[in-house]
Symmetry: C2
Subunit: 189 residues, 2 copies
């Protein structure tokens, strides 16, 4: 059997269930039916193993976002769907949710770093879509990195932060309509 694959699967399960800090290398070895030392023949250390797993998760997330893209649709429609998918992923996907919690509650440096990498991936994904629609002539020529960053932060604020200060969360349609009237409207040629 492919030992590296076994280890990756075991580690993914453990990190998803318990987070980075609460997962021990011995635990992973036990689940993978492998000696602890074996892990170190494939991965330099715990952090590197974690990175590989999170990066795989990022790929899955990008794939889901890509699947949500409809070829003929407007930028607003696609960007909205992609962002919603990825922010839903953030709350739904066990590992992503665990990383967010761990960074918030314990400031685990490894979790913080990979959380940033994941968020950067989202921003880059959106930036690429913007560039495509600019090339298509549907959007004005703007700084796509800044716009992508703004869209991510704005969506995060309205979906995650809003209910911290307000007692009912905003319905998705209301968010969509609001951003259509503000940010998206300003991007059209």
């Amino acid at each position: 059997m492919d030992r590296k694959k076994e280890i990756l699967e075991a580690a993914t399960r453990s990190f998803s269930l318990f987070g980075y800090k609460a997962t021990t290398m011995e635990q992973i070895a036990k689940i993978a039916n492998v000696g602890k030392g074996t892990i170190y023949t494939f991965f330099a250390n715990k952090e590197v193993l974690f990175q590989e797993i999170v990066r795989k998760m990022i790929c899955e997330m990008k794939q889901e976002a890509t699947d949500a893209i409809k070829e003929g649709a407007s930028f607003q429609e696609n960007a909205h769907d992609a962002l919603m998918k990825m922010l839903e992923f953030r709350e739904t996907h066990q590992l992503y949710a665990k990383i967010v919690d761990e960074e918030k509650d314990w400031r685990t440096p490894a979790a913080k770093q990979m959380l940033h990498e994941t968020e950067q991936a989202i921003v880059t994904f959106i930036k690429e879509k913007i560039d495509k629609y600019v090339a298509k002539g549907e959007l004005r020529q703007i700084n796509s990195e800044l716009v992508a960053y703004l869209l991510f932060k704005a969506y995060l604020a309205f979906i995650n932060d809003w209910n911290v200060t307000h007692d009912e969360s905003l319905p998705e349609v209301e968010i969509a309509n609001f951003f259509q009237e503000t940010i998206f409207r300003s991007l059209l040629v």
Copy 2:
């Protein structure tokens, strides 16, 4: 001498220097040249005393923002100046900066609560300006609360969060130009 005023001044100094948690009622009493019990004849408890002080700070902040408003200027110009003033206040003003730190590092509930109240004050301030400019006919009729919230979160993201992931912070002009091209542009009639 006005004992209440002495206490307020002493408490303001202490909270500004050491934060909420690290300030003791005995310390305040000592600085105010007052017995500890005296404080409790004016304020129900430590939290209420803190609230009164933070609310005074909020007034000062709003005053500074109001001073930054130029009567004849455009909405963008005034909103930008007001937001920048208040976010500068957030980093410059000893007490505000201490509250932000304390909420981040210790999650002190009292600090968290007053931080929210302060941020809500900023959003409300901006909302009122929006309503004014909508009435003036300079801005389209939009949900002013949502726009105010968006502006606050967006400015916070570009001024505070940007340099967390990027190594050089954005120059103010670049931020102003970017928001002019995006959010502000979409608000004009």
